[in-house]
């Protein structure tokens, strides 16, 4: 192959490096107004009254909105979210009022003059407390919320969704086990910390149509939810998305777009812009949910897992409109990449008075893999088996069934190969080494898997146009959030149509009026699904080219071939046409014209996916499974708790690397994020539920100096037959399972099990101290 499988430079590199790429923050419109939000100081309180009469007097202020101005709810899977807080506030940081003004200064001045009278309510600040029968309710009206049929909220409780998966007979399985091990695990809420904070502009037009410019991952989801919630037909809503400065899931679904649109209407139909500051990004924007897990595993002495009973509880925070799917995704993958014959899994999404949770790269999986991969290590130690051997013995290989009863397809990826690859490259099998009295080096390993968490009908499509000079335009709905998918898609077009990548432009923005549909840019689904749609669109183009060329060249279509921007008769390259000569119709010397502008289209939906059985969770949720493994060698300072990652090895079965350099880039970037989340990132709250580190001084994220010096990336390619050129997704996968690999290394170094994240130096020190 000429283009697929080659490490070409990403097609947006020049624009991004030179700063000419367009982002939502760059967009300024004539007559534009700016909005600033007043945030709740309480985690849970009744709003008794709001007085903004003084604020309205500030020169430049156009209007002020409060929750009662917008009396309806929105949401992706559950309609539980208010546009602005109504009747009560549910987290410290929930927007209570919005000032719209000619400039930000006026809006800020006015915000400080708004007086809100609150009546504090008892907050729910621990997800385990939220499940107690006497817990205060975060959503009293849960029973009234519209929701997708795939979800199961329990009115009168804080449970936004209960997902259950049942397979085999757990009691029997435990009876046949020699050893039963049970552990609990915890993980805090974290932020996506995109380089570009949430930014959007909305304009309500006088004719009732709506225009949105936004830094969002999913323009079509925004259009659909907005249309559904406001009762506006979709052809009257247009959503424009330029390049996105990092999403990581935080810009998926729908966020502040309805707010700016409704503010625009209230402000006399002028466009209104909202641009969060870094501090607001921490306080107001959605976060990754917190997590509590409890796993009971039964094994035989010779290392076969017989049964597992699993409880996952997700701290959804104040709203769970997207969040319900996180618990569901964790539920149907709950065992990790292992075969468990007897299983009872329950995954709960639970409201609390923390910031609201949403999708986050690898959602559900980063969380439960922390628990499962620690549990596997502990179980292996309990029965005195090497953890690699134990994992391989229970590896979920083709032909075995997943938690939902899906028999793994024969061309699925190979978890065993991933585990063996990292074990070999890290040099598994040597004991920990004490290099000074207080410094130990040790190794740890963890495996991973994930399928796209999406409804069975999630769709993708593509349009390819042939321009008059023989160049091509590819239009797709997947947004460019840094992941590089569009470069790989351009390579696929190049391969299919035998045309250099330089001659293909991927339209650098998404506009729902012009762009072909894509459900969302999430779930590591887009290379696979857009990839298939693009292949079909390219073949459609090809068919149209051949149709015209066969008339002009007077041979049947199947005697023609396209190469080097020409269509020619096989074996007779001298009988040929240039593509540009048929791009807009072929013109004969006398002026007669046949054919016309060539526009190819293609779509793709997953094959034979199903909803899951509400009682047992059985069914087919997975478009494809991607497998991988991580291994680390760390140096631990047992006196201070400091750890340094000396070496990191990552292996992923990606099926086929369309662009190996971009795959490696994703893996390196994902692993850095994984280290950062595992070691440092954490929403810290005071006793009233107020975040105390809403800035990059005290919410630490990895920087260049924190990246391991040595990172070996192993790309394994067992092609999946229905993937584009055999490819599977890897974008999210790359950031899974580094934290359990680190904790497993700490365990091997010291015998100490750390089951709560983050693995901050102080937390490690505390854990080591408790053991002494």
């Amino acid at each position: 192959m000429k283009y697929v499988g080659k490490s070409i430079q990403r097609i947006d590199a020049f624009e991004k490096v030179t700063g000419s790429a367009e982002y939502a923050g760059d967009i300024e419109l004539p007559g534009m107004l700016y909005t600033k939000l007043l945030l709740s100081p309480y985690a849970h309180a009744k709003i008794k009254s709001i007085d903004f009469s003084d604020a309205l007097k500030v020169p430049g202020v156009i209007t002020i909105a409060i929750g009662e101005d917008f009396p309806f709810r929105i949401g992706l899977y559950v309609n539980d979210r208010n546009i602005l807080a109504r009747k009560k506030v549910r987290w410290v940081g929930e927007p209570v009022a919005a000032v719209v003004a000619e400039n930000l200064e006026a809006a800020e001045e006015a915000i400080e003059l708004i007086k809100v009278d609150y009546e504090p309510l008892p907050p729910v600040l621990d997800v385990r407390d939220a499940l107690k029968p006497d817990a205060p309710l975060v959503h009293e009206e849960l029973g009234e919320y519209a929701h997708s049929p795939a979800f199961n909220p329990i009115p009168g409780t804080n449970i936004a969704n209960r997902f259950v998966v049942k397979k085999g007979n757990v009691e029997e399985g435990f009876k046949k086990s020699d050893v039963i091990v049970e552990n609990e695990f915890l993980m805090p809420q974290v932020s996506h910390v995109p380089m570009e904070p949430h930014t959007c502009i909305g304009q309500y037009m006088k004719d009732g149509s709506i225009k949105i410019w936004t830094s969002a991952q999913s323009p079509f989801a925004i259009r659909y939810i907005l249309g559904y919630s406001l009762g506006v037909p979709l052809h009257k809503i247009s959503v424009y998305v330029p390049y996105v400065g990092g999403g990581f899931g935080g810009k998926a679904g729908i966020n502040f777009e309805p707010l700016v649109v409704l503010l625009s209407k209230k402000a006399g139909y002028r466009p209104v812009k909202l641009e969060l500051t870094r501090e607001e990004q921490f306080m107001v924007a959605p976060v990754r949910q917190g997590f509590y897990g409890k796993i009971k595993t039964g094994v035989t002495r010779d290392g076969k897992i017989m049964a597992e009973k699993i409880l996952y509880v997700f701290d959804a925070g104040a709203y769970a409109d997207y969040g319900v799917n996180i618990g569901r995704a964790a539920g149907y993958s709950c065992t990790g990449p292992y075969y468990v014959p007897n299983l009872e899994g329950e995954s709960l999404t639970v409201y609390t008075n923390h910031p609201w949770g949403t999708a986050f790269r690898g959602f559900g999986h980063f969380e439960f893999l922390w628990a499962i991969e620690r549990q596997m290590e502990i179980v292996a130690a309990e029965i005195g088996m090497d953890p690699i051997e134990f994992r391989l013995k229970n590896a979920l290989l083709p032909g075995l069934t997943t938690p939902t009863g899906e028999k793994l397809r024969e061309d699925a990826g190979r978890i065993d190969q991933c585990i063996k690859a990292v074990a070999e490259k890290i040099g598994w099998g040597t004991p920990p080494v004490k290099i000074t009295p207080n410094k130990i080096r040790a190794k740890g390993i963890a495996a991973l898997w994930k399928a796209p968490a999406m409804p069975p009908n999630a769709a993708s499509s593509a349009i390819i146009k042939l321009n008059e000079d023989g160049t091509f335009l590819l239009s797709v709905g997947v947004t460019e959030i840094g992941q590089g998918t569009v470069t790989a898609l351009a390579q696929i077009v190049a391969e299919e149509l035998s045309v250099p990548v330089e001659k293909i432009k991927v339209v650098p923005f998404r506009h729902t009026d012009l762009t072909p549909y894509s459900w969302q840019t999430v779930a590591s689904r887009n290379l696979f699904m857009e990839g298939r749609a693009v292949i079909r669109a390219a073949r459609d183009v090809k068919e149209q080219i051949l149709e015209v060329a066969s008339q002009v060249l007077r041979v049947p279509k199947d005697d023609l071939e396209i190469e080097d921007e020409k269509v020619y008769v096989k074996g007779r390259p001298e009988w040929s046409l240039q593509l540009k000569d048929i791009a807009a119709g072929y013109v004969y010397p006398n002026g007669n014209t046949i054919g016309g502008p060539i526009i190819g289209r293609g779509y793709y939906v997953g094959s034979r996916l199903t909803y899951l059985d509400p009682e047992t969770g059985q069914g087919y949720p997975a478009l494809k499974w991607t497998f991988g493994a991580q291994a680390v060698e760390i140096e631990l300072d047992t006196e201070t708790g400091e750890i340094k990652i000396l070496k990191l090895v990552s292996a992923f079965d990606v099926g086929k690397a369309i662009n190996p350099m971009l795959v490696e880039g994703q893996i390196v970037g994902g692993c850095v994020q994984s280290i950062s989340l595992g070691m440092w990132e954490e929403y810290k709250y005071d006793k009233n539920g107020r975040m105390i580190n809403p800035n990059l001084t005290d919410y630490k994220i990895a920087r260049a100096g924190d990246i391991p010096e040595e990172h070996i990336v192993v790309i394994i390619e067992n092609p999946q037959k229905d993937g584009p050129y055999g490819a599977r997704g890897v974008g999210e996968l790359s950031m899974l399972s580094v934290p359990p690999a680190i904790a497993n290394a700490i365990f091997h170094a010291t015998g100490v099990n750390i089951n709560n994240l983050p693995l901050s130096f102080e937390n490690i020190w505390k854990a080591l101290k408790e053991k002494r």
Partner: protein, 286 residues
């Protein structure tokens, strides 16, 4: 967003003092601005007027005189200090401390004098300046005074500086001959961070005896020199005993708090570990 503030940029000290006198507490001096602007934006500091001193020539001095010492002017950036060979060679502990402050983007703007005027307990340059027995040179219309840095800090974010005064420069005298000095800093990450605990120490030989100086960041309301711990080395005993005594005294003299960056318990533990490690390194070299 920043509140509405007037801004001026005087070219001479005379103009500067005029402004300071006029606005008194309402004026804030800006050099690098890396602390001030954040505090103003977060409404921790309030000011009506910002006086930018970057254009005043007399404050730009970075000068070393053999046998006397080093002068670091109020507008000398951390980047400049890091690039100075003489600082690296003659004052390695100061150089090492400056290197740990923020990232290069910050170092291009932030100043050493700003670091001490901000008077954070976590100021990384302060422990080094304390053990180098630096002097703070303060200027106002009324005249000039020179204060040992040990007397400069009075509390969290508080100094002896009057609203109409500025720190013109810091003077760092010639350090003891053949001294060895280091700054050990515990951070939450490996790259860049404020100190969870920082320890600056230096040692040298006088006669046959080892002399030690020790100072800390992030363990008390101000950066703290602990002379009692240093004195452990003047008493009889083996080197190991002296080190342990110094560690114990240091641990008694600090008063760390629990905050978002670390617990008091962890900090106290780090004081012991870092002091012990530092002293072992020092006695090995000197």
């Amino acid at each position: 967003m920043l509140p509405k503030i007037e801004y001026s940029c005087p070219q001479t000290l005379e103009e500067l003092f005029e402004i300071l006198e006029k606005y008194k507490e309402q004026a804030k001096v800006l050099a690098g601005g890396t602390d001030l602007l954040v505090s103003l934006r977060d409404r921790i500091e309030k000011a009506r007027h910002i006086v930018d001193i970057k254009k005043i020539k007399e404050l730009e001095k970075l000068e070393y005189r053999e046998g006397e010492g080093l002068v670091i002017g109020a507008t000398v950036t951390l980047r400049k200090i890091l690039e100075s060979r003489v600082v690296k060679e003659r004052y390695p502990v100061l150089w090492e401390a400056v290197r740990t402050i923020g990232d290069m983007i910050l170092k291009n703007r932030a100043t050493l004098v700003g670091n001490i005027c901000n008077a954070s307990p976590a100021a990384d340059s302060a422990p080094a300046l304390l053990i180098l027995e630096a002097k703070v040179r303060i200027l106002s219309r009324e005249g000039f005074r020179e204060v040992p840095i040990e007397n400069f800090f009075t509390g969290v974010k508080k100094t002896i500086l009057k609203p109409w005064e500025i720190v013109k420069e810091v003077f760092v005298p010639e350090p003891p001959r053949n001294h060895f000095g280091r700054y050990l800093k515990m951070m939450r990450v490996m790259s860049e961070d404020l100190s969870v605990v920082g320890v600056a120490g230096l040692g040298y030989r006088e006669g046959g005896d080892v002399k030690i100086r020790l100072a800390y960041s992030s363990v008390a309301p101000t950066p703290l020199r602990i002379r009692e711990a240093e004195e452990a080395f003047l008493k009889p005993g083996t080197i190991e005993e002296k080190i342990e005594r110094a560690v114990q005294i240091a641990a008694e003299k600090v008063s760390p708090i629990s905050d978002v960056r670390g617990s008091a318990e962890y900090r106290l533990h780090l004081v012991k570990v870092l002091t012990r490690r530092l002293l072992k390194q020092i006695v090995e070299v000197v």
